[in-house]
């Protein structure tokens, strides 16, 4: 069995890391080639620097971690919020069609002000602010005495059975009678 050399293994791992970042960007509709190259180079450079210090770490892990770190801090700035910035940021970019309107903006240091305004104007809440109030049922009440109610319950529940029994017994009574 021929074992792959460490160099080839490493190249394969970096190729996988590169492909992973590329697909991730494409999934976010960030398909502009120039933008992709810039971000890939930024992410992979930072990952390579970390890899030099920790050779046991997988390039895929390092690259994706760098991408997450960069995007989280970029989205925090864009949204001016620390509340799940990455998720909300991605949704905001999709909502305002950022990939089409600001094709090179993602992960740039200078966020275009028009993009920032557009994102902050967009109300992406699934539901508005709560305005809580009460809706409490009144207990079921009836003018009938409780005992009568219980009797009714007992009587109504097997109503069908009783009707069947009544009709069948009446029918048997009738069948014993000679026809006129």
């Amino acid at each position: 069995m021929i074992e792959a050399s460490p160099v080839i293994e490493s190249e394969t791992a970096w190729a996988e890391a590169r492909a992973r970042v590329e697909v991730y960007l494409q999934a976010l509709h960030l398909t502009n080639r120039a933008q992709q190259s810039r971000i890939l180079s930024l992410v992979l450079d930072r990952a390579a620097a970390r890899h030099a210090a920790d050779t046991a770490a997988s390039p895929v892990t390092l690259a994706m971690e760098e991408l997450y770190n960069l995007s989280e801090s970029w989205f925090s700035g864009l949204l001016d919020s620390q509340d799940r910035p990455e998720a909300r940021g991605i949704v905001s970019l999709l909502a305002v069609d950022a990939a089409e309107k600001w094709p090179s903006a993602f992960l740039t240091e200078e966020v275009p002000s028009s993009l920032q305004r557009s994102v902050q104007k967009c109300d992406l809440r699934g539901a508005p602010e709560l305005q809580l109030s009460r809706m409490v049922p009144e207990p079921f009440s009836t003018p009938l005495p409780e005992s009568t109610l219980k009797q009714l319950a007992r009587g109504f529940a097997p109503l069908t059975a009783r009707l069947f029994a009544f009709v069948l017994s009446a029918a048997s009574l009738f069948s014993s009678k000679p026809p006129r």
Partner: protein, 690 residues
């Protein structure tokens, strides 16, 4: 509550007096004929039992007949002068409207259809110029995880396409207590205080924009009104079953609605959808109480609508049915078996309403509405008893000539409403403007009457079983409602559903033919339906037959001849999420939603951003979630039951962690299932560049 009543109390009393005196007269007349018939035979215990059954059933038939006749008379006069719609001029355009909530409770529905419907209504409203006066809420109780995720994506896509962010909302309920009524109550508790009115729709409802506006204007004009129910017409049917039903609704619906309005006026019923509700009294008076414990009927009300109408009426608010407003639609179930599934639940709910016959403070008309609802199902076992019982009386005897008046009376009560409907269809100027041959309307009415004769005894047998199981059987669940089915039920399903009916009809036919031969022709009218029930259900589910009837001009409704733009638009497909879906559902089964949420960054981000903030979880819960994440990644989704997958999907931190871990690790780290899913995802990722 200060308001002028739209109609005087004296007029209401007069109308109700006339209506119920007419009922009583016809009922007494039928009872007299029956008594005369029995007298010729002898008042045996069996005869007395038969007479009691007859009185109950006669009341039900007479009620339907009287409603149809008064409705026909009202329409013949050009419409009831006391319609709630008359309180505003026909061309009234409000200068301003308060913001109204439009709520759509959904449960595992066809996601594309629901959101396409919302799009159509939103755009129709925008065209009226009052779009900003309505907020749409899609209130999901979906238990299917994949449906949940599709709903989120569809909500986002819809908001993006129609610029509806901030006006179209999506809320998924974590604890789906008390089904639909609980879903609506949950909305009221959270956001009800923001709105004076809410319009409640079903998943398959469509309402035109100007109808939304009109309903709010009517509520503004009449502060004493608590609810206005519109008459929603079934449309867009393809199968023969749907097309006959929608034709029947078109032909008879106006008669029955106008007739019901004649006596109900300010005390109409509520059907639970396509209606507007005044929120404040609804919240104060219409929360569903627990019922007294009574065995299998249960204590939680399944059918809430009639009860809500009765409760809001008890509080002094009026309930009207605005039957003459156009533009309110719904879709019907595609075939008989799907329809029966819904009936099963309604039957149980209506049996529970029994308690409200004795509820303190309800008005008499509310109690009558409740009783009519109960009898809609309880009438079936009574009919069955009557039919089983009547031939027994004649064993060894003869069928008397005295039966003829009774028979004629029954035929008049049953078929005159159909004749009146046919007369209206062929003579009404509105119908003539549709340029559809009159004879086709008439032929459709005749064909529908034959169809109903076959269907009615089949329904009687099913409803009898439903009533029985409400009291003695297992509980009723809240299943997914089937609203479309291009294939229809298999022959085997039809056989399993109907074999007992066919056998019963065969045996009954042989027994009646053997012991009381003169009664056999009369009985065949009842036995024919169950005898052919298997092919009846199969063929009536056929889209081919439904469309063939349409081509021949049978069972045609105006919406098919001149479809409103909203109905055309709702049939168009709903666009996919942001252009494409990276994973195909095949091969993932019930885990399709989960795998998308974990793998796809957009779906993951959207899902997380829609989850509400949650207080910090306990250490125990945190450890449990971590363990579940590990199990999911290392052993695959098959290792987790649905409940635990749902638990993960509800936790934003878990979903973030799963997404990050999967994307940040070499594929070899996780279960084979994830490796294959991830590879497919990578393979399908779009490689185009701008």
């Amino acid at each position: 509550m200060v308001s002028r009543k739209p109609v005087d109390e004296s007029l209401i009393a007069d109308r109700r007096g006339v209506f119920f005196i007419l009922n009583a007269f016809l009922w007494a007349f039928g009872a007299m004929l029956m008594a005369a018939r029995i007298s010729g035979h002898g008042w045996t215990p069996a005869a007395m039992g038969l007479f009691v059954l007859f009185l109950l059933l006669q009341a039900q038939i007479v009620y339907g007949f009287t409603i149809a006749v008064t409705g026909w008379w009202m329409l013949r006069r050009g419409g009831d002068p006391f319609r709630i719609n008359q309180t505003l001029p026909a061309d009234f355009v409000p200068s301003d409207l308060p913001v109204t909530a439009v709520i759509i409770p959904i449960f595992n529905e066809d996601v594309g259809r629901v959101f396409q419907g919302v799009r159509v209504m939103y755009e129709s409203l925008a065209a009226t110029g009052f779009g900003s006066s309505f907020d749409f809420y899609i209130l999901s109780d979906s238990s299917d995880l994949s449906v949940w995720i599709e709903e989120e994506k569809a909500w986002f896509e819809l908001c993006k396409q129609v610029d509806g962010f901030g006006h179209i909302f999506y809320r998924k309920r974590k604890v789906t207590l008390h089904h639909k009524s609980g879903n609506v109550a949950d909305f009221c508790r959270r956001w009800g205080a923001k709105y004076p009115y809410l319009i409640v729709l079903d998943a398959d409802s469509i309402m035109r924009g100007n109808l939304f506006v009109r309903l709010v204007a009517l509520m503004e004009k009449n502060p004493i009104i608590g609810m206005i129910q519109t008459y929603s017409r079934p449309v867009l049917g393809q199968s023969l079953f749907q097309r006959v039903n929608q034709f029947a609704s078109f032909a008879y619906g106006p008669l029955f609605s106008a007739g019901a309005n004649f006596w109900q006026l300010d005390n109409a019923s509520f059907y639970g959808h396509n209606a507007i509700i005044r929120v404040q009294p609804f919240m104060k008076f219409c929360a569903m109480p627990e019922l007294p414990p009574s065995g299998r009927l249960g204590t939680r009300i399944l059918s809430h609508d009639t009860v809500e109408a009765a409760l809001i009426r008890r509080a002094g608010y009026e309930v009207w049915c605005d039957y003459d407003l156009e533009g309110s639609y719904e879709e019907g179930p595609p075939h008989l078996l799907a329809s029966l599934k819904r009936d099963r639940r309604w039957c149980h709910g209506n049996m529970q309403h029994f308690w409200f016959l004795f509820c303190r403070g309800l008005t008499l008309p509310s109690r009558i509405n409740i009783l009519v609802g109960i009898m809609a199902y309880l009438g079936s076992p009574l009919w069955l008893l009557f039919l089983l019982f009547s031939p027994v009386m004649f064993i060894g005897g003869q069928v008397h000539a005295r039966s003829a008046p009774l028979f004629i009376c029954a035929m008049v009560l049953l078929f005159v409403p159909k004749l009146l409907a046919a007369e209206r269809l062929v003579s009404n100027p509105g119908m003539l403007s549709l340029r559809h041959a009159r004879w086709k309307f008439f032929a459709s009415t005749v064909a529908e009457a034959i169809y109903s004769m076959l269907l009615a005894p089949i329904l009687m047998l099913f409803y009898t079983r439903f009533v029985w199981s409400s009291f003695f059987g297992s509980g009723v669940g809240w299943g997914r409602q089937k609203r479309a089915d291009s294939v229809g039920p298999a022959w085997s399903d039809c056989f399993m559903a109907h074999w007992a009916h066919t056998l019963l009809a065969l045996v009954a036919g042989v027994l009646v033919g053997w012991f009381v031969p003169p009664m056999l022709p009369w009985f065949m009218m009842v036995l024919a339906g169950p005898l052919v029930s298997i092919p009846f259900t199969r063929f009536s589910a056929s889209n081919g037959l439904g469309l063939a009837a349409l081509r021949k001009g049978l069972f045609v409704i105006p919406e098919e001849l001149q479809p409103p733009s909203e109905l055309r638009a709702v049939q168009e497909p709903f666009g996919a999420f942001a252009g494409e879906t990276l994973l195909k559902p095949d091969g993932y089964g019930e885990d399709y939603g989960l795998v998308q949420t974990i793998l796809d960054p957009r779906t993951n981000a959207l899902h997380i951003s829609l989850l509400r903030e949650r207080p910090k979880v306990s250490l125990e819960t945190h450890e449990r979630l971590v363990a579940l994440c590990n199990l999911l990644l290392y052993d695959g989704p098959g290792a987790l039951p649905l409940r635990e997958k749902r638990m993960l999907l509800w936790d934003a931190d878990a979903m973030i962690a799963l997404h990050h871990r999967l994307w940040s690790s070499p594929l070899s780290d996780y279960h084979q299932w994830w490796r294959e899913a991830f590879l497919e995802y990578l393979k399908r990722a779009p490689l185009q560049s701008a």
